[in-house]
């Protein structure tokens, strides 16, 4: 085993603490011949990777196991990369400074499509061949998981194995299987492919039609399952959650303790992939959460605890839980943060109580500017809700509100785009012109507009994405409008990156070579505006003979075979199409608690709140 001495690298790099490890609650184990060494690789900077809850859970879960040692690795920043190359040092893990190449397995979590080139970058820095077919028995196995892994096809040529669904249980099964078949990679992959939630891309072949669409997805032999079913944790309440989590020294993006209230979402917003792939809703008990939360604060000393989920207001015991936690944390001034809120009255009351300790900014996500379009996307928020919420927040003393919108949603016209501006202006007017003498502080309104990217496993998986010129025209229009409103801070997301994200979100394995080509041309850190190189990407697509528009601008046929057809999230395609049709009719669908819309889960008996 090699342990690199990285001291000489650290003298001249920015934030050397990114690379030294040794954080409080980090794990170092002794290594024997039996130890399975797993390198958890996050394809972005330390500050981003250390903010990801799933990675934290998996890091501690794997290290709880006797024969497994999981170490971490993040993408080095450009200055560190320089220094490593200069000294001829390969990519190493934080815990023991071992070259990543010496590990049994390396796992990448796929959180966003724009991090894919960083995966190639990290493999390259580790001296590991990029393509699965070029790797030998001596190289580590390369494993992917995370939300983007539900359509892992663009990475098919790179992956050895992909985890579909929630990883806690299946990962341990995979490692158990590895323990038994460590000596033979091929046998291991064959055995692992039989585990529910494991996908081995090299065991499938794709046939294409003349028009470029997929003809068929064919398993290479009878032993290979036809369909790969996602995994979920049935009993989330009893599932592992780290109570002594790592505490970064650096100020990372989410620098606070976190507990997870539930998985899944009852809402069914039609643009939202998380709302489908994490179905069904599974809550943890408030007693479990309170105990976990108190232990985490005692073990970390964090000054803030975040209660996360896809829609925190929908947690059935939110009031009880927040009361309990606010009381026990008041003395030590530990604040609670509640992201992803719907701003109904009950939530506002809870929020007022919680934020007596520490006040943070408020965010609302109406997503669309008109009621018509909000009905299309099934975002059950009315203008009255929103006006009331903002007014309430203002009167309760908040002085900062952020509003999130999307442009490019299906059926959108310029009326809807203008609707964003009109809605924001009405909100501001409501607060300012009706305020009385008691409330005179200014209200800062921030408006943030992102570009809609159609995602697999959503009712909008069939729709074309807006073109670059459509996005740009809408940006220009809004920018012009908001220019007259100096009091409102208007921000929008760059169209280039949203389009590339759109290509990879619904892409197939013909994109693997493009990815390699783009990386060769110097693309990496694509999620960072200052590093993104659209011209290089265009060259790469062109040279590989792959048309971006084929993936983004095409309305897909109802029965088209999608690249993710063999992945089963247990929500039926019929349901998704039904929802798509209802969207076009501007009809809303009730949420799961009001009425089950038979998305497919009701038949699986998988637990959660489903009938």
């Amino acid at each position: 085993m090699t342990r690199l001495n990285i001291k000489s690298l650290l003298a001249n790099v920015e934030k050397p603490a990114r690379y030294v490890g040794n954080e409080i609650n980090s794990v170092v184990k002794s290594i024997t011949d039996d130890t399975i060494r797993f390198a958890w690789c996050f394809p972005d900077l330390y500050e981003i990777g250390m903010s990801h809850l799933g990675s934290l859970i998996m890091y501690h879960l794997l290290n709880e196991q006797d024969n497994i040692f999981c170490e971490r690795c993040y993408t080095p920043a450009a200055d560190m990369e320089e220094a490593m190359k200069h000294e001829g040092m390969p990519l190493f893990t934080l815990e023991t400074k071992t070259p990543v190449k010496e590990f049994d397995m390396i796992g990448f979590t796929l959180q966003y499509e724009l991090s894919y080139t960083n995966i190639l970058h990290m493999l390259t820095l580790a001296n590991i061949p990029l393509l699965k077919k070029d790797r030998t028995k001596k190289d580590p196995l390369v494993i992917f998981g995370g939300p983007c892994a539900y359509n892992p096809e663009p990475l098919a040529d790179i992956a050895d194995l992909v985890i579909i669904g929630e990883a806690e249980e299946v990962m341990l099964e995979v490692l158990d299987c590895y323990k038994k078949h460590r000596s033979d990679k091929d046998i291991f992959l064959e055995k692992a492919a039989a585990i529910q939630g494991v996908y081995v891309p090299s065991f499938y072949e794709f046939d294409y039609k003349e028009d470029g669409c997929i003809e068929a997805i064919v398993p290479i032999n009878e032993k290979t399952p036809l369909i790969i079913k996602k995994r979920i944790i049935k009993n989330l309440d009893e599932s592992y959650f780290p109570e002594k989590p790592l505490i970064p020294f650096l100020n990372v993006v989410h620098d606070r303790a976190t507990i997870e209230l539930f998985r899944g979402c009852i809402r069914g917003c039609r643009f939202c992939q998380a709302g489908i792939i994490y179905r069904p809703v599974r809550e943890k008990k408030p007693e479990t959460l309170a105990k976990t939360a108190k232990n985490i604060i005692a073990n970390t000393g964090y000054e803030e605890l975040s209660l996360t989920s896809l829609s925190t207001s929908d947690y059935s015991a939110l009031k009880v839980l927040t009361e309990d936690l606010t009381n026990s944390f008041a003395q030590n001034r530990v604040g609670l943060s509640l992201p992803s809120l719907r701003l109904d009255n009950t939530t506002m009351d809870i929020l007022k109580e919680v934020q007596k300790v520490r006040k943070s900014g408020l965010t609302f996500a109406p997503e669309a500017g008109t009621q018509r379009l909000r009905d299309v996307i099934n975002k059950g928020i009315t203008e009255e809700d929103l006006l009331l919420a903002v007014k309430n927040a203002y009167e309760a003393g908040w002085n900062q509100v952020k509003l999130y919108f999307m442009i490019g949603l299906p059926t959108e016209t310029m009326v809807d785009v203008e609707g964003i501006f009109d809605l924001v202006v009405r909100l501001e007017h409501e607060v300012y012109h009706k305020r009385d003498k008691q409330h005179t502080h200014p209200l800062k309104i921030g408006v943030s507009v992102s570009n809609f990217v159609p995602k697999p496993f959503t009712p909008f998986q069939w729709v074309p994405q807006n073109s670059m010129s459509e996005f740009r025209a809408k940006h220009r229009f809004l920018k012009e409008k908001f220019r007259t409103k100096k009091s409102i801070q208007f921000n929008y997301h760059d169209a280039d990156t949203s389009i590339l994200e759109g290509v990879f979100a619904r892409g197939d394995r013909r994109l693997s070579p493009v990815l390699l080509k783009a990386y060769e041309k110097g693309c990496k850190f694509d999620g960072w505006a200052e590093h993104f190189k659209m011209d290089k990407w265009k060259e790469a697509f062109h040279e590989c003979g792959v048309d971006m528009d084929f993936y983004t601008l095409r309305e897909r046929h109802e029965n088209e075979v999608f690249p993710w057809e063999h992945i089963d999230v247990q929500v039926t395609r019929q349901f998704l199409f039904r929802e798509y049709e209802r969207a076009l009719l501007e009809k809303t669908t009730p949420h799961c608690l009001a009425q089950c819309s038979a998305c497919g889960y009701q038949q699986t008996g998988a637990g959660g709140l489903c009938p």
Binding site: K7, S8, L10, A11, K15, P16, A17, V20, G21, N22, I24, I247, F249, L250, N251, D255, I297, A298, N299, T300, G301, Y302, E303, N332, R333, V334, V357, R358, K359
Partner: protein, 247 residues
């Protein structure tokens, strides 16, 4: 009441910035169950102040902070509780109770910084050459270096940051002691005591680099290891005394 504590910062933790360190202590207080007093307002903070921040990459055996507690705690209890939860490379060495806030903050009290500077020479030198080189520097009438000043007051914007003007400083008034403490083969160690005037001082590396340049010495790159050994304050008679001692 208040606790004044002396602590170390070593090993990998020398790479923490001052803000990282503040955060680390704030969280360690909570883990250790130290009863903290907090500032008022929407974003309550513990009331803690540090003596002269240390540059990133420099090791130290003597750092200091003051922290205000909401309940009584003995120095021994404080040290025990904190050291159990602090990382190995940051440990409390000593602590004292202060009944009330000192009239001068901890920052203002620091008057002398004591450093050791260890390095390796490319080639061994004859006896006496290094001492001569030191004398040569200290016997000048002035030794001017370029130093980054405070942020300029000129035009600035968020994107480009504020310009820090370079200014010229004579380092000699800052040097209280500059002596050779080890000279064996190529391994050399210096003791460098640097004064603080109105919270302004000179980084040891700047003095060291200037000396190397003036003496024309060739030093193995990356071999320089600087460690802060002590921070002292002055008493009524202008003697340097420990920060933990009462005036």
């Amino acid at each position: 009441m208040m606790i004044r504590a002396k602590y170390t910062k070593k090993g990998d933790l020398v790479y923490l910035s001052h803000l990282d360190l503040v955060r680390l202590f704030e969280r360690s207080f909570r883990r250790a169950g130290v009863p903290l007093a907090f500032t008022q307002g929407f974003n309550p903070h513990p009331i803690i102040s540090f003596a002269a921040p240390l540059s990133v990459g420099i090791s130290s055996e003597a750092e200091y902070f003051d922290v205000v507690l909401s309940e009584l705690m003995t120095a021994e209890q404080f040290i025990f509780a904190m050291n159990k939860t602090l990382p190995e490379d940051i440990q409390i060495l000593q602590a004292i109770q202060l009944d009330e806030k000192p009239t001068n903050g901890l920052m203002q009290e620091a008057a002398l910084m004591v450093y050791s500077v260890a390095f390796s020479l490319e080639h061994p030198l004859q006896n006496g050459i290094l001492t001569e080189a030191i004398d040569k520097l200290t016997n000048q009438s002035e030794v001017i270096i370029q130093k980054k000043g405070k942020e300029g007051s000129g035009k600035s914007n968020k994107r480009f940051g504020k310009r820090k003007r370079m200014k010229q400083v004579d380092i000699l008034p800052y040097i209280h002691a500059f002596t050779l403490t080890k000279d064996e083969d190529i391994f050399v160690e210096l003791l460098l005591e640097i004064k603080v005037f109105d919270q302004a001082t000179i980084k040891p590396l700047l003095i060291f680099n200037k000396w190397i340049e003036m003496a024309g010495l060739s030093v193995v790159s990356d071999s320089v290891f600087i460690e802060r050994k002590e921070i002292l304050k002055v008493d009524k008679d202008q003697h340097y005394i420990s920060i933990l001692q009462s005036n």
